[in-house]
């Protein structure tokens, strides 16, 4: 079964051995597998083998109705399900030629930014854990629990939200929720300082990540990296600011870009630190959104029970926690089911960059590289 991978590795010299890393390995972030050809600790090449979590979500999209597919999008990226919801909702809304009401758009932005913080917390925490610092991970999870509580109060679920619907959002913001969220944000900003003191500027941590896995800007674009991975390479691009969707043009926020804080631009540390800074920006966005939250409906009044968009195809993309998430949805105008649903995810293409970068790394570096790319197995395989 593995003949093709082994063939791809090429012949082994006397010193080299093949190391099978995953799919059951503590730090491959889900069921991802790497076939590593190495000389002792030094990797000659690491080939990613994915597909262990392939659930054919795109095929399911052709079998279920348009609204019926929404819960499945949660499973495409379970750490940042809000974005998966929103991307699909935007694509179908584009097909139908309507837009969610303003209050719904603000609810979307708030929930997405909270979800972005939760997702980045996991990313930052596992980064520390993969480098060997076990404490920051639990601290990150602690804050994520509070966030999960908030999101649960908003939409009733803690992981697979199914909150965004075609034409709006499922529930309005509950009473007293905004105050709770603001209280959390006040606390969270101080906690972010704590992470900086505990982990970010730790000498060992910096030494481990500086100048490791450097992705120059051209390479990042060429390989189709998106989101924080792209920005860490110095490309100043954020869909929320540059091609705003929803209500994002109402907010003031910075887009953190990798500056080579401890080494070259686009190394693993930059990818890590861009995420820390993005969490601060998300806090800002949520504050502004809660302040400006307009009154009105949370659901478009003209959404029929049976969603049957006119024939056509739509490409919608959102700035997910793992970068640009694109939905390509086609409808034939007759059926209640999509003809084709395509989910373009950031993690999938981020995996493509592992093979060229892995040459000459050490095994411990490969773990750090995967963590810094923040790949999530279900998003790779869908």
């Amino acid at each position: 079964m593995d003949e093709l991978v082994i063939q791809k590795l090429g012949p082994l010299s006397d010193e080299e051995m093949v190391l099978n890393m995953g799919p059951q390995h503590p730090s491959t972030h889900g069921v991802i597998r790497f076939v590593v050809k190495g000389d002792g600790e030094v990797i000659k090449v690491a080939l990613p083998v994915v597909g262990y979590l392939h659930r054919a979500i795109e095929k399911i999209g052709e079998i279920v109705t348009f609204p019926g597919f929404m819960p499945y999008t949660d499973r495409a990226d379970y750490l940042a399900a809000m974005f998966a919801n929103e991307g699909y909702a935007l694509a179908v809304e584009k097909l139908m030629g309507l837009e969610a009401p303003p209050r719904a758009q603000y609810c979307r932005a708030i929930s997405c930014e909270l979800n972005r913080i939760a997702s980045h917390l996991i990313s930052v925490g596992t980064m520390g854990q993969d480098i060997g610092a076990l404490t920051p991970f639990v601290h990150a999870l602690r804050e994520r629990e509070t966030l999960n509580d908030l999101i649960e109060e908003l939409c009733g679920a803690r992981l697979t939200y199914h909150y965004h619907r075609i034409g709006g959002v499922a529930f309005d913001v509950p009473d007293g929720w905004a105050e709770k969220t603001l209280r959390f944000l006040d606390r969270f900003e101080r906690i972010l300082d704590e992470y900086d003191r505990l982990l970010t500027w730790n000498e060992i941590y910096v030494k481990r990540l500086a100048d490791l896995g450097v992705i120059p800007a051209e390479m990042a674009i060429d390989y189709g990296l998106v989101g924080p991975n792209l920005r860490a390479s110095g490309v100043d691009w954020d869909l929320r600011r540059d091609l705003p969707y929803g209500c994002y043009r109402d907010f003031q926020f910075q887009v953190p870009v990798g500056k080579g804080w401890v080494g070259k631009v686009g190394d693993c540390f930059d990818r890590y630190y861009v995420r820390i800074l993005e969490m601060r920006e998300s806090v800002k966005i949520v504050r502004q959104a809660l302040e400006k939250l307009p009154a009105g409906e949370t659901m478009h009044p003209k959404i029929p029970k049976k969603v049957k968009p006119p024939a056509g195809e739509a490409w919608a993309r959102v700035e997910s926690a793992r970068g640009e998430m694109g939905y390509y949805v086609t409808a034939d105008g007759v059926s209640e089911k999509a003809q084709r649903v395509r989910i373009r995810t950031g993690s999938y293409l981020a995996m493509g960059v592992v093979e060229p970068l892995s040459r000459g790394m050490m095994i411990a570096d490969l773990v750090a590289l995967i963590a810094s790319l923040d790949v999530v197995a279900p998003e790779i395989d869908r």
Partner: protein
């Protein structure tokens, strides 16, 4: 400078003539079709031309039009970070023996995206450096995202077919009911009148399994 789809299409048409089809009326996302054999040249032009500069290959996917037309359409979503404009390029292929040049020499991102299309749609990419299945195992039969794909019923000893859960529940219910009737029938003719009334059958499928 951001160009509209019409301008982008005009430039491509001027450079390649017949190989570039008409711009479809931009209902949602404007696209034009390219002769499959020419796809690499057209895309290289779209990337290299300084006024177009499509440096970002957003997505490569395909749509299968099985019952209506014997076609697979490759869909390329291109975007330019420099000019902030995007375009959709399509290529029409026959369903049997679908094959066209790979875009890997133009954008490295095409490597993995095309592998996925190869795996799930069975489109061969000429000149692809690493054309292996990616989602499915190497020895999988068929291409799942084709409309006429039939599941083989299993993979080695692993079955992917099972009875509907409803059928199983109904079977369990009937077993429970049968057991209850049986105990009621035995209790209906008691030896002594003092016997307790028929006990209700245990809930759930505990008896069955």
């Amino acid at each position: 400078m951001t160009l509209s789809p019409e301008e982008i299409h005009a430039k491509a048409k001027a450079a390649f003539g017949e190989a570039v089809g008409e711009l479809q009326p931009p209902a949602k996302d404007a696209f034009f079709t390219v002769t499959p054999a020419k796809i690499r040249e057209v895309c290289a032009f779209l990337k290299e031309d300084p006024s177009l500069a499509f440096d970002f290959l957003e997505d490569v996917t395909a749509t299968d039009h099985h019952p209506k037309e014997p076609l697979i359409r490759l869909v390329y979503h291109l975007f330019s970070y420099r000019h902030r404009h995007g375009i959709v390029v399509k290529a029409e292929l026959p369903r049997d023996g679908a094959s066209l040049p790979s875009l890997d020499p133009v954008w490295k991102a095409a490597n993995w995206l095309e592998r996925e299309v190869y795996d799930l749609f069975g489109v061969a990419f000429e000149g692809h450096p690493d054309l292996r299945r990616i989602m499915m195992p190497d020895d999988w039969v068929g291409h799942p995202l084709r409309k006429d794909y039939q599941e083989a019923g299993g993979y080695f000893d692993i079955t992917n077919v099972r009875d509907s859960a409803l059928v199983e529940f109904r079977r369990m219910d009937e077993a429970v009911r049968a057991a209850a009737e049986k105990s009621a029938a035995t209790n209906a003719t008691p030896a002594t009148p003092a016997t307790a009334p028929a006990a209700p059958a245990p809930a759930g499928g505990a008896q069955v399994h």
